[in-house]
């Protein structure tokens, strides 16, 4: 099972002839992901690492029947690429691109959401289901197969926590990077709900950071709807208000979106929050150990 990507994934890579696109398409393919097509307007007919390239997603769909699209298109054209994928009937779109204007994403989100499409990202490292499929830029060698679902707004911080878990012998069902932008497709809540339904996932680690109120919403959801244990981590306790901390979405606006408020909300709903990545891994190992 796992969530979002697995052995049933048939991937089309939009922006496959770019530097990043070609590099990661080849990596994903080498991992075992079924990469069936690439799209770059004007470059149809060629191939990248044996992957056929088409001019449009519609053609790629007609010829190779992908069910998932990965977007590596530059920021100013990325919204267009997401619409194109959705228009061609793709059910799952994973957008890696960083720097997409927030208003573009506002419109994309409001278009995509009622159509039942799963959008992950943008500004995210992608989704990895160890042993099944890797769609994105997550270094798969850090992770191992297991029963812990991992969902995070950050890339390297996720790798850090995955690495610490691996050292304690704990593996993952799926790792989902939801992205660091103010508007992302799948929220913590969407991904938590999927993990709750996924029979392969028994525990969940949620990695949040300053900005917005998605962690607070997730906190109430966890208490009300989830039977599986969730361990959380929040980054940015020392972040000053009004400053963007690397991720466009990581900003404390006035007094809203602080790490302290998120931690308190999670704890108030019975979710344990580790104070640093090492402690998070230890807490997870403790819970996993206690249940096995």
């Amino acid at each position: 099972m796992a969530i979002i990507v697995d052995s049933e994934t048939r991937l089309v890579v939009q922006g496959i002839t770019g530097r990043e696109g070609s590099f990661h398409a080849a990596r994903n393919k080498a991992y075992g992901t079924n990469v069936v097509a690439g799209v770059t307007p004007g470059k149809g007919g060629g191939d990248v690492d044996g992957i056929p390239v088409f001019d449009s997603v519609r053609e790629a769909v007609a010829e190779t029947s992908p069910n998932t699209a990965m977007v590596f298109v530059p920021a100013r054209f990325a919204a267009d690429a997401i619409y194109e994928a959705v228009d061609a009937g793709i059910e799952t779109v994973i957008c890696i691109t960083e720097g997409i204007p927030a208003h573009d994403m506002l419109r994309v989100y409001n278009y995509v959401y009622p159509r039942g499409v799963t959008l992950v990202g943008p500004n995210c490292p992608g989704v990895l289901s160890p042993g099944k499929a890797n769609v994105g830029i997550i270094p798969a060698e850090i992770f191992r197969e297991g029963n812990v679902g991992l969902v995070s707004r950050s890339g390297t911080l996720t790798y850090q926590i995955g690495h610490e878990l691996a050292q304690l012998g704990v593996g993952q069902s799926t790792i989902v990077g939801i992205g660091g932008d103010p508007v992302v497709g799948s929220s913590f809540l969407d991904v938590l709900a999927r993990f709750e339904r996924d029979p392969e996932t028994e525990y969940v680690v949620m990695v949040g950071e300053i900005g917005g109120a998605e962690e607070e919403k997730a906190a109430s959801f966890i208490e009300a709807e989830m039977t599986k244990p969730v361990i959380a981590y929040i980054a940015g306790f020392t972040a000053p208000p009004g400053k963007t901390m690397g991720h466009a979405g990581a900003i404390i606006s006035g007094t809203a979106g602080t790490a302290q408020a998120k931690k308190e909300a999670l704890e108030a709903h019975g979710v344990r929050v580790g104070t640093n990545p090492t402690e998070v891994a230890r807490l997870v190992a403790e819970v996993v150990g206690a249940r096995t």
Binding site: N110, A213, G246, H247, T278
Partner: protein, 382 residues
């Protein structure tokens, strides 16, 4: 990117939102000339990217050009919440009968723009929200449908804007503010106060305007409005060099790869009793060029007493990052203690390279926690 009041008002004017006539001045003489040109009573307003200007003495009335010059002299150079006033905006003074508040914010949670109107303007909106939440009319706009006039009518009825002529002006103004919000890729457009003059004219007396950095490529004219002299000197240097950097006020300089990991590193430094001097994200890479640029920015802060590298190798391999760090240290002289924590892909090779280099001020640690403890200890000893 936050805009100054006068820049926001320029954008307002471009979208047809009424504002007072005025001009920018950076010296008392210029303020005098502007006041003379405008004629009559003027208001001299400090241009800083922070609130609380009135209370800090940054907004003053002047009846004559001479008085405008004196007021400008008092205001220029003022320190308002850490921002030094370098420019004043001189505009025609307005008679105020009523003060309203109107804003459009980018509501991340609802993923829709949020319009807010209240007749209790002129004070901090958080105060109104807390004291009398019912006075604050709110309505979301579906970004695909766009703003519709019924939404502004609803705002007026709910907030209690009763006068028909006023309503008409406010409804038109809300539509134009929405156009400005979308047209300029804004994250925030706020008019506080939105005034009604004794003659019944509605206009924007102030502006707060934040534009999405990621959309500046569509607005070269707005991108040019960035004040290169504003902010901390280290942040200016970082902007020039293209380094992702935020100045903080501690003594431990921090570099890492990935925003989340760097934020987490700052927190760990605080947990072990240190204070981070900055946030600095090297991004995906870790090449010598990027490391040199980042180190130049970090060491330009005289408060820094120790430096911590926290690198997690993913696609970027640990040995490549180590090579980048060593090359960077070869090209510049740093006497501060430098602690490097390298983990992930090819970390062992990377660590071995760093240890072999045997620089007297270079320390290699295996975990994030031990590295944080080490750098705080070394910095404390200085």
């Amino acid at each position: 990117m936050d805009l100054y009041e006068y820049q926001g008002k320029q954008l307002f004017a471009r979208f047809g939102i009424p504002v007072s006539e005025g001009k920018l001045a950076s010296s008392p003489e210029e303020a005098r000339a502007v006041a003379e040109e405008l004629g009559g009573q003027v208001v001299v307003k400090a241009q800083v990217l922070t609130g609380g200007r009135g209370k800090a003495g940054g907004i003053k009335l002047a009846d004559t050009p001479e008085e405008a010059a004196r007021r400008a002299e008092e205001i220029l150079g003022l320190d308002i919440r850490g921002h030094i006033v370098g420019k004043v905006w001189v505009e025609k003074a307005s008679d105020i009968a009523k003060e309203y508040y109107l804003s459009i914010t980018f509501d991340r949670g609802e993923k829709q723009p949020l319009l807010m109107l209240t007749t209790e303007g002129g004070v901090e909106i958080e105060e109104v929200a807390e004291r009398s939440p019912d006075a604050l009319a709110r309505v979301h706009v579906d970004p695909l449908m766009g703003f519709q006039p019924f939404q502004a009518r609803w705002l007026c009825f709910t907030a209690g804007v009763a006068d028909p002529d006023e309503q008409k002006q406010v409804i038109g103004l809300v539509g134009r503010l929405y156009d400005a919000f979308v047209g300029a890729d804004a994250m925030l457009c706020e008019i506080n106060p939105l005034i009604v003059t004794p003659e019944g004219e509605v206009k924007a007396l102030d502006s707060k305007f934040t534009v999405d950095d990621n959309a500046l490529f569509r607005h070269p004219d707005i991108a040019e409005m960035r004040d290169l002299d504003a902010g901390e000197p280290q942040e200016r240097l970082a902007r020039e060099k293209g380094v992702t950097y935020v100045k903080l006020d501690g003594e431990i300089g921090i570099l890492g790869n990935g925003a989340g990991l760097v934020m987490s590193t700052l927190d760990v430094i605080a947990q072990v009793g240190g204070r981070p001097a900055n946030f600095c994200d090297l991004g995906g890479g870790g090449d010598a060029e990027g490391v040199v640029d980042a180190l130049e920015v970090i060491t330009s802060d005289p408060q820094v007493k120790g430096i911590l590298f926290n690198i997690f190798g993913g696609i970027t391999r640990g040995d490549e990052v180590a090579r980048g760090i060593l090359e960077a240290l070869d090209r510049m002289t740093i006497e501060l203690p430098i602690v490097v924590r390298l983990d992930g892909t090819n970390a062992e090779e990377g660590r071995a390279m760093l240890i072999e280099a045997a620089s007297p001020n270079l320390y290699v640690e295996e975990t994030m926690l031990s590295a944080a403890e080490r750098v705080v200890e070394l910095a404390g000893a200085r």
